[in-house]
C-alpha cells in the first residue's frame, strides 16, 4: 500500500433544506485498499458518493483525487480523474449492446469514425484480467442481473478508473453472483485499484474490506480497521444509542393480544424483476398488537408492502386477512376494510390535484354512503357532495389537519398534514386491520407523535397493526413485537423487550439472533429464521 492516499475527503458537508445529510466528513483511501461505508438508509452514504462523483455539490469541504482538487458538481472531471461508479440502479440502456453501453461518452461526438475495435479489445482485456465474462455484442436486455453488473463495472474499468465506488453491489445478486463479485474485487485490489464499498450487510463488509467507516445521521461515528472491529461493535455504531424504549403512552389492550390472527403470511415467496424478492416469509399479527418489520430498505419491504396492500399476489405460500384469502386488487382490500397507509403519500396515497373534500371519498367512490340516494342516482354514481364534505370535515377535525379550505388541492398541504389526512381517512371507520408503511418519514415531531398515538389507540380497540419502518426509534416506541427483514427473509417476531440495539443491528445487517423463535401467535408452526 502506498502512503499517499488516492482519495481524500475533508470536511465534506451537505444540507438538503433542514436535513443535514453529510456532517463534516473526512476520510482517505489508499491504492489497493477497500474502504467500506456502513450505515442505515438515510445515514448519508449515497449523498457522500454522489458528491464524489459530481452529481451533487457539497456545501463545504473538499475532495482530492490523486492529490488534485476536484471541481465540485462536475461528473466529467470526476471521470477524468479516475473515479468510476457502479450504481445501485444500473445506468444501462437495455436496447443497446454491451459494447455500446461501455463506449458511451468515450469519444467526442464530432468524430466520424468510432474506434470500436480498439474499445472492444480494451473491454475484452479488462474482462479477462478480472475474470468478468461478457459478450460485447449481447443486448443488455438479454443479460441477467449479475451480468449487467459486470457491464457496469467494465464501464468504469475501460475508462481507466483507479478508484471504484460500488453502491450496494450485492443488493440484487444471488449468493453465487455475490461470491464471484467478491473474487473480482480481490483481483482489483491486487492490481492496485482502490475501492469504496457501500453496504449495510455486516458479513460482506467484514469479509471484503480493509477499513470500515460507519455513518449515522450524516456523521462519521466510527472508523476502524476491519481486523480490529467486531460485528457487535459495528452493529451498535450503525444503530446508535437507542434509549431505553419509552413506555407506550397508550396502554395495550386489556389481556394482551389474543384471538385468531387477522394478518397471516405462510411461507410466502415472490420474485419481481428488478426488486428484492421475498423468500419464505411467514408472520402473523393478532388483534390488539402492533408487529413492526424493521430492516434496511431494499431487503424486500416494498414487495411485502405491496403484497399487504392488495396490489400484488404471492407466487408461493398463503396470504390471509381476517382468516380469508382476499383476491388481488386494491378494491377488494379496501372493501374488506383493510386500512393501508402508503409510503409515498403524495404519489400514491392521495390524488394531489384533487381537493381535500374529494380525497376523503377517493377510495370509496362507489360506496352508497358517498352517493346520493335514489336508484338512478346510485346507478349513475352521483356523488353526495354534502356527505363527502362532512366526512372530510370530520377527518380534518379529529385528526387536526391544518388547512385553509376543504376545497384546496391536497398537494398544497404540508407533508405532515397530508399524512395526518391519510391516517384520518384510513382510520375513520375503525378498521380491524391496518398496514402502515413508513408512516412517519419526513414528518415533524408533533405529527410523528400524533400518528403513533392513532396507531396505539387502534391497537387498544383490538385492531391488528403491521408497521413497516426504517426508523428504529419509532419501532421501539410503539411495537409489541419486532421482526427483521434481511435479504428477502423475515426473522422471527420477538417481543420488543427481547431486542436491544446490538441484537437488532446485527439482524438488520444479516446476522440472525441465536435465540429460538418465540411465540408467533396461534396458528403458526415453526417459523423460518434468517438464512445467512
Amino acid at each position: 500500500m502506498q502512503t499517499e492516499p488516492v482519495l481524500r475527503l475533508q470536511g465534506v458537508t451537505k444540507r438538503f433544506g433542514a436535513l443535514l445529510a453529510n456532517d463534516d466528513i473526512s476520510l482517505s483511501l489508499h491504492a489497493g485498499e477497500v474502504l467500506a461505508l456502513l450505515g442505515e438508509n438515510g445515514a448519508g452514504k449515497s449523498t457522500l458518493v454522489s458528491i464524489l462523483f459530481g452529481h451533487y455539490v457539497a456545501d463545504a469541504g473538499t475532495v482530492e483525487a490523486f492529490g488534485k482538487r476536484l471541481p465540485p458538481g462536475d461528473t466529467r472531471a470526476a471521470l477524468a480523474a479516475g473515479i468510476g461508479m457502479v450504481h445501485q440502479h444500473f445506468t444501462l440502456a437495455e436496447n443497446l449492446t454491451v459494447l455500446e453501453n461501455v463506449m458511451l461518452g468515450l469519444e467526442p461526438l464530432w468524430r466520424l469514425r468510432s474506434r470500436r475495435q480498439a474499445v472492444r479489445e480494451q473491454l475484452l482485456r479488462a474482462a479477462s484480467a478480472y475474470g468478468l465474462q461478457v459478450d460485447p455484442a449481447a443486448r443488455v436486455a438479454s443479460l441477467s442481473v449479475g451480468e449487467r453488473q459486470r457491464v457496469e463495472i467494465l464501464k468504469a474499468l475501460v475508462r481507466g478508473s483507479r478508484i471504484l465506488i460500488l453502491d450496494e453491489p450485492t443488493a440484487v445478486l444471488t449468493p453465487q453472483e455475490s461470491e464471484s463479485l467478491f473474487m473480482t474485487l480481490e483481483k482489483f485490489t491486487a492490481s492496485g485499484l482502490a475501492l469504496v464499498f457501500i453496504s449495510h450487510k455486516l458479513d460482506e463488509v467484514m469479509r471484503v474490506s480493509d477499513r470500515i467507516v460507519v455513518l449515522k445521521h450524516g456523521r462519521m461515528v466510527l472508523q476502524a480497521r476491519t481486523a480490529d472491529a467486531t460485528k457487535a461493535s459495528l452493529a451498535e455504531a450503525m444503530v446508535g444509542n437507542l434509549a431505553q424504549p419509552a413506555p407506550s403512552t397508550a396502554a395495550p389492550i386489556a389481556g394482551g393480544p389474543a384471538g385468531q390472527p387477522l394478518i397471516e403470511l405462510e411461507r410466502v415467496s415472490m420474485t419481481r424483476p428488478g426488486h428484492a424478492a421475498l423468500r419464505d416469509v411467514s408472520l402473523a399479527v393478532l388483534p390488539g398488537e402492533i408487529l413492526a418489520i424493521a430492516g434496511v430498505a431494499g431487503n424486500g419491504q416494498q414487495s411485502l408492502a405491496r403484497l399487504l396492500s392488495g396490489e400484488l399476489a404471492p407466487q408461493h405460500g398463503r396470504l390471509r386477512v381476517g382468516g380469508k384469502r382476499l383476491p388481488v386488487g386494491a378494491r377488494h382490500w379496501i372493501d374488506a376494510g383493510v386500512a393501508r397507509i402508503p409510503e409515498d403519500r403524495l404519489e400514491t396515497g392521495v390524488i394531489g390535484d384533487a381537493s381535500l373534500a374529494d380525497n376523503a371519498a377517493a377510495h370509496r367512490l362507489r360506496d352508497p354512503a358517498m352517493l346520493r340516494g335514489g336508484w338512478l342516482a346510485r346507478r349513475l354514481g352521483v356523488l353526495d357532495r354534502d356527505r363527502i364534505r362532512s366526512e372530510a370535515d370530520r377527518i380534518v377535525r379529529s385528526f387536526d389537519v391544518r388547512h385553509v379550505s376543504l376545497s384546496q388541492p391536497i398537494r398544497t398541504l404540508s407533508g405532515g398534514n397530508v399524512q395526518k389526512f391519510i391516517v384520518g381517512r384510513e382510520l375513520a371507520r375503525e378498521p380491524a386491520v391496518i398496514v402502515a408503511n413508513q408512516p412517519t418519514w419526513g414528518l415533524d415531531i408533533g405529527a410523528v407523535a400524533f400518528v403513533h398515538q392513532q396507531l396505539m389507540q387502534a391497537r387498544r380497540r383490538g385492531a391488528a397493526v403491521l408497521l413497516i419502518s426504517e426508523d428504529l426509534e419509532e419501532i421501539f416506541a410503539i411495537a409489541d413485537r419486532i421482526a427483521v427483514m434481511y435479504d428477502g427473509r423475515l426473522s422471527a417476531g420477538m417481543p420488543t423487550a427481547q431486542w436491544d440495539a446490538a441484537r437488532i443491528g446485527l439482524a438488520m445487517a444479516g446476522d440472525s439472533p441465536a435465540a429460538t423463535p418465540a411465540t408467533m401467535g396461534q396458528g403458526m408452526q415453526g417459523t423460518e429464521g434468517i438464512g445467512t
Partner: protein, 358 residues
C-alpha cells in the same frame, strides 16, 4: 434561467397567462397583417365583426361552432383522463357514415319504423360508430401498453378510406354526378333549423347539451372524478381502488361517441349527405380547442365559438381588406402555442439558474 415548481398555482398567473397568450398572438399576427399591406386595427375589427357583428355572422359562427364544440368535448374528455385521442377526425366520419346508413339507406322506406324512433337510432348509431373506433386503441393501450397517439392517428386514415370505399359502392348516391357522395338522409330526420334564414340547426343544441352533461359528469359523478384521477395520477388512482383500465375504456366510449355525434350533426344538420371533404379538419381543430379550453367542458364551448368566429370572420374580412383568410388558422395556431407556454408559468416560476449542480 430555469423553471422551479410553485407550491400553489399562482392566482395572478392564472388570469395573466391567457391574457399574455392572446397578447402575443395578436402581436405576431399583426406583423403578418402588416406584411399583407392591410391596416392592422381595421383588419382585427373586421374579423370580429365578421364573426360576431351581425345576426348572419352570429348564426354562421354558431353553425360552424357546432361540430367544433363536439369534437372539442371529445378530445377534452379523453385528454383529461390522459387518453390522447388524436382520432376524432376518423370518429367524426364514422359517425357521419353511420348516421347516413340508418337515416338514408332504406331508400325512403324508413325500415318500416316511425321517424322519431329512426331519429334516435340514427343518433345512437353515430355515437356507437365513433365509440367503437376509439375503443380499439383504448383497449390496446390498457391491455398491451400500445401508444394510442399513433393508433388513433392511423385509424383516421383507415376510417376515411372505409368511407371512401362505401361512397364508391354500397352507399353511393346514384343520382349524384361527379363527386362521390352518399345517399342522403331522409329529410324528416334532418336536424331542424333553429332560426329561419340561417343555417343554424338543432345540432347546436345537441352540442350545448353535451357540454352541460359532460360538465355535470365531471363535477357530480364518481366516474367524472375517476377520469380526472386516472389522468392526473394513475398510480394513486389504482392504489385507492379505482379500476384504471375500466375508467379508460369508459372514457373512450364517451369521447368516441361525442366525435361520432359531431359527424351526425354535420350530416343531419348541414349537408344532408356524406362527402369525403365534409370535415376541414374538425377532429384536429378539436384538439386545439380542447387545449385552449384547458380541458373544461364549458370553456370548450367558449373556445369553439371563439375559433369558429375567427374562421367565419376571416372569410368576410378577407373580402374587404384582402388579407388572406388563412390568417384565421394562424391566429388559432399561435394561440395554441402561446397558451401552452403560458400555462407553464402558472405551474412554474422562472429563476436564474445556479452555477453548478443542485
Amino acid at each position: 434561467m430555469r423553471l422551479e415548481r410553485r407550491e400553489t398555482a399562482s392566482r395572478t398567473a392564472l388570469v395573466l397567462a391567457p391574457l399574455a397568450a392572446i397578447g402575443v398572438t395578436l402581436l405576431v399576427c399583426a406583423l403578418l397583417v402588416a406584411w399583407a399591406g392591410a391596416p392592422v386595427g381595421r383588419t382585427y375589427l373586421l374579423l370580429l365583426e365578421g364573426g360576431f357583428g351581425s345576426r348572419f355572422a352570429l348564426t354562421e359562427t354558431l353553425t360552424r361552432a357546432t361540430p367544433l364544440i363536439l369534437t372539442g368535448l371529445a378530445v377534452a374528455v379523453a385528454f383529461r383522463a390522459r387518453l390522447f385521442n388524436i382520432g376524432a377526425e376518423g370518429q367524426f366520419y364514422a359517425g357521419a357514415l353511420a348516421a347516413v346508413a340508418v337515416g338514408g339507406l332504406h331508400q325512403g322506406t324508413g325500415f318500416g319504423l316511425p321517424d322519431s324512433l329512426l331519429y334516435g337510432l340514427m343518433v345512437l348509431a353515430a355515437m356507437g360508430a365513433g365509440a367503437l373506433l376509439l375503443i380499439v386503441p383504448a383497449w390496446l393501450k390498457t391491455r398491451l401498453a400500445v401508444d394510442e397517439v399513433v393508433t388513433t392517428l392511423l385509424l383516421n386514415f383507415v376510417a376515411l378510406l372505409f368511407v371512401s370505399a362505401m361512397l364508391d359502392g354500397p352507399m353511393k348516391d346514384p343520382t349524384a354526378l361527379g363527386w362521390p357522395q352518399s345517399v342522403a338522409i331522409k329529410p324528416e330526420l334532418e336536424f331542424g333549423r333553429l332560426l329561419e334564414r340561417s343555417r343554424l340547426h338543432s345540432g347546436f343544441l345537441w352540442a350545448i347539451g353535451a357540454a352541460l352533461v359532460l360538465q355535470w359528469i365531471n363535477r357530480a359523478t364518481a366516474l367524472g372524478f375517476e377520469m380526472s384521477a386516472v389522468g392526473s395520477n394513475p398510480r394513486a388512482a389504482s392504489f385507492l381502488g379505482m379500476r384504471v383500465s375500466a375508467v379508460m375504456l369508459k372514457t373512450a366510449v364517451i369521447s368516441g361517441a361525442l366525435a361520432g355525434l359531431a359527424g351526425a350533426a354535420e350530416v343531419a344538420g348541414r349537408t344532408g349527405y356524406v362527402t369525403l371533404d365534409m370535415s376541414p379538419g374538425y377532429g384536429y381543430t378539436g384538439i386545439v380547442i380542447a387545449m385552449l379550453a384547458g380541458l373544461s367542458p364549458l370553456r370548450v364551448v367558449v373556445a369553439a365559438i371563439f375559433v369558429a368566429g375567427i374562421l367565419v370572420g376571416a372569410d368576410s374580412m378577407s373580402r374587404v381588406v384582402g388579407v388572406p383568410n388563412y390568417i384565421a388558422d394562424v391566429i388559432v395556431a399561435v394561440s395554441l402555442l402561446t397558451m401552452l407556454v403560458a400555462s407553464l408559468l402558472v405551474q412554474y416560476r422562472l429563476r436564474p439558474s445556479r452555477p453548478t449542480g443542485t
